[in-house]
């Protein structure tokens, strides 16, 4: 009983063309952008089923052969682990070939998709059907898909930026092959699977996100009707300390719906990094000093903070909301630059964020992602804390926040050259120090990548870890699925 015998049996079950076992074929799946050793997270094989029945057959074989399966949808998850596993030697259960769009309901504005469907594919499909519905894209939009991103509880920038919050109904294969449809999906001949999220009794969908309790094989989505009008802009504040007043100014406008988008709040270095190389900006060791990035930003007409946002609705509402925002931003010492827009806030696909890789020219990216209660003083405290830890490790300070329900997701990319071993070691130490510093200050985390899951899970308390373990033992008693995901093991 071994991975090799599992892969051989898997080849017989789903076709040898859909099994990868050779080192050359596996190499791309072992690539990792995080500052952790590839060998600690390398998969031992890849199996790519095309149906629920094949997923069930592979789970049975994994049980028989004592193999571990690490499910992925499109296998991207850039900066959180790509296709690599929490522990080495697991077999990637690659669901990319399961890519059927099963239903689009033009009346309820919903879709039902398989895990391999990409945002590009669904976007094209809606256009082909002539439906004026928008998707909310995560940063690598065209290359990734709604199932994987939603299951990681990823986010975007439109009013539908909370992807899990706008999902509705799942089909899940449990480790023993049981097929579960959540919510209204359990009703025979269901009419309402994508209409009502909560079903009857406990709401189960959450336990299949950021977890290893089952393999999600279908996901329902709510889609945004394209607004009749919209307008985008950039609000700029010039001083790093303005973070406090700008959050306290934008919060009520988000809460009352004046600013419809979650938007993106970028600091100066993040805005610069997509068009400037580090060498051009600061060709010295140590973190880019705050005054250097601010000076460079001002030279390009930017400031210390840029909030890219959009307003949506009927034309009169857009004009009226815009005027309210302009008055508030100017009143809080900022300025408003109209009609600068992020395509993904208005239903257009883009990969513009990928230009961040040109900053160092390397492949190193790790997202440090604490949750910020949406208060100015907490945002200011987090920025100071992050800056202090990063400066101490010689790591450049970048952040891109989205302003959501009552929180902002303070998503900070650590961008480095992964071919530089010293830089990789330094960024790993920095990432761990950031987790400890933020947890020590009473903050929790929205998401993390392989290599950091145990530490982040521990920061959320022993009771949560224990309950997760008990659920794991109940639903996957042999521990076949993704051991170590989010720190959860038998």
């Amino acid at each position: 009983m071994s991975v090799a015998s599992f892969l051989a049996a898997a080849g017989r079950a789903i076709g040898a063309d859909h099994v990868i076992a050779d080192p050359q074929g596996l190499a791309p799946f072992a690539q990792i952008m995080l500052p952790v050793p590839e060998a600690e997270h390398a998969p031992a094989g890849v199996v790519s089923p095309q149906s629920v029945e094949e997923v069930q057959a592979l789970l049975r074989l994994a049980y028989d052969h004592k193999a571990y399966l690490w499910p992925t949808s499109t296998g991207r998850n850039f900066g959180y682990g790509t296709s690599t596993c929490a522990t080495p030697g697991q077999v990637v259960l690659d669901l990319r070939r399961m890519n059927r769009i099963l239903d689009v309901d033009p009346e309820l504005c919903t879709a039902l998709v398989e895990p391999g469907v990409t945002y590009q594919q669904l976007h094209d499909h809606l256009r082909a059907l002539g439906l004026n519905l928008w998707l909310d894209f995560p940063a690598p939009g065209p290359l990734v898909g709604p199932t994987g991103n939603t299951l990681e509880r990823g986010g975007g920038t439109t009013p539908y930026g909370d992807h899990f919050g706008n999902s509705c109904g799942m089909e899940v294969v449990l480790a023993d092959g049981t097929l579960l449809r959540t919510g209204m999906g359990g009703v025979k001949d269901t009419t309402s699977w994508q209409a009502y999220r909560y079903g009857f009794g406990p709401f189960l969908d959450g336990i299949f996100t950021q977890s290893n309790f089952g393999v999600v094989t279908k996901l329902g989505l709510w889609l945004m009707p394209a607004p009749p009008a919209h307008r985008s802009g950039m609000a700029v504040w010039n001083r790093p300390e303005d973070i406090s007043i700008l959050i306290d100014t934008l919060r009520p406008l988000r809460f009352d719906g004046t600013i419809g988008s979650c938007g993106t709040l970028a600091n100066d270095l993040l805005a610069l990094a997509s068009t400037t190389t580090r060498r051009e900006l600061y060709d010295s060791p140590g973190a880019v000093p705050a005054e250097v990035s601010l000076r460079a930003a001002k030279a390009k007409g930017l400031g210390a903070w840029m909030y890219f946002f959009s307003v949506y609705g009927r034309p009169d509402r857009v004009a009226s909301d815009w005027a309210v925002i302009e008055k508030a931003v100017v009143g809080a010492g900022g300025r408003l630059v109209p009609d600068v827009f992020d395509p993904m806030q208005v239903g257009e696909l883009s990969l513009r964020t990928f230009s961040i890789f040109n900053y160092t020219g390397g492949n190193g990216l790790a997202w440090f992602s604490p949750v910020t209660p949406m208060r100015g003083r907490d945002a200011a405290r987090q920025m100071a804390l992050a800056r202090q830890v990063m400066d101490a490790h010689g790591v450049d300070f970048m952040t891109g926040m989205t302003l959501n329900g009552r929180e902002a997701l303070n998503v900070m990319p650590l961008v480095y050259d992964r071919s530089d071993d010293a830089a990789t070691t330094r960024h790993r130490a920095c990432f761990e120090a950031l987790i400890d510093a933020f947890a020590g200050a009473g903050y929790g985390f929205y998401r993390t990548g392989v290599g950091f899951m145990d530490r982040v899970a521990a920061a959320h308390g022993a009771a949560q870890m224990d309950v997760n373990r008990r659920i794991k033992r109940a639903l996957d008693p042999a521990g076949i699925l993704a051991p170590g995901k989010s720190g959860i093991r038998l």
């Binding site: 990868i20 074929g25 190499a27 791309p28 799946f29 690539q31 890849v46 790519s48 095309q50 499109t74 296998g75 991207r76 790509t82 296709s83 690659d94 990319r96 070939r97 399961m98 890519n99 059927r100 769009i101 099963l102 689009v104 391999g116 469907v117 590009q120 594919q121 094209d124 499909h125 082909a128 065209p142 290359l143 985008s232 950039m234 993106t264 970028a266 805005a271 997509s274 068009t275 840029m306 890219f308 009609d339 600068v340 827009f341 992020d342 395509p343 257009e348 696909l349 883009s350 990969l351 513009r352 990928f354 230009s355 890789f357 040109n358 020219g361 390397g362 492949n363 992964r418 071919s419």
Partner: protein
């Protein structure tokens, strides 16, 4: 009627049959993935440079710093070979498409 029926079939196809082999042709692959970086200035321009088809396939399959690897379940060896052959024939675009939207 025949044209209409064919059009309907084409319409229905994406929902029912975009399984493995979702790509219609190399220009579909290009317009759905490559163009976002290689026609916008955020990655090297390829159209009009007549790159070696084998090299295109190897790089796309294995990635490079700043460029993700594209897995066989996403694009098959045959589809990659066709993409490489197509790219080799492409003339330079008239002008680089600016990134969608204004600079962020």
């Amino acid at each position: 009627m025949r044209v209409a029926a064919l059009a309907l079939l084409a319409f229905a196809a994406p929902a029912l049959a975009q399984s493995a082999g979702q790509w219609r042709a190399p220009d579909h692959v290009w317009a759905s993935s490559c163009t976002y970086c290689h026609d916008t200035g955020s990655a090297p321009r390829l159209r009009g440079t007549h790159p070696d088809a084998n090299l295109v396939a190897i790089v796309a399959r294995n990635g490079l710093p700043g460029m993700p690897a594209f897995h066989p379940s996403e694009i098959s060896d045959q589809e990659l070979a066709a993409l490489g052959a197509w790219l080799q024939r492409q003339p330079a675009p008239a002008a680089l498409k600016p990134p969608a939207g204004k600079r962020k």
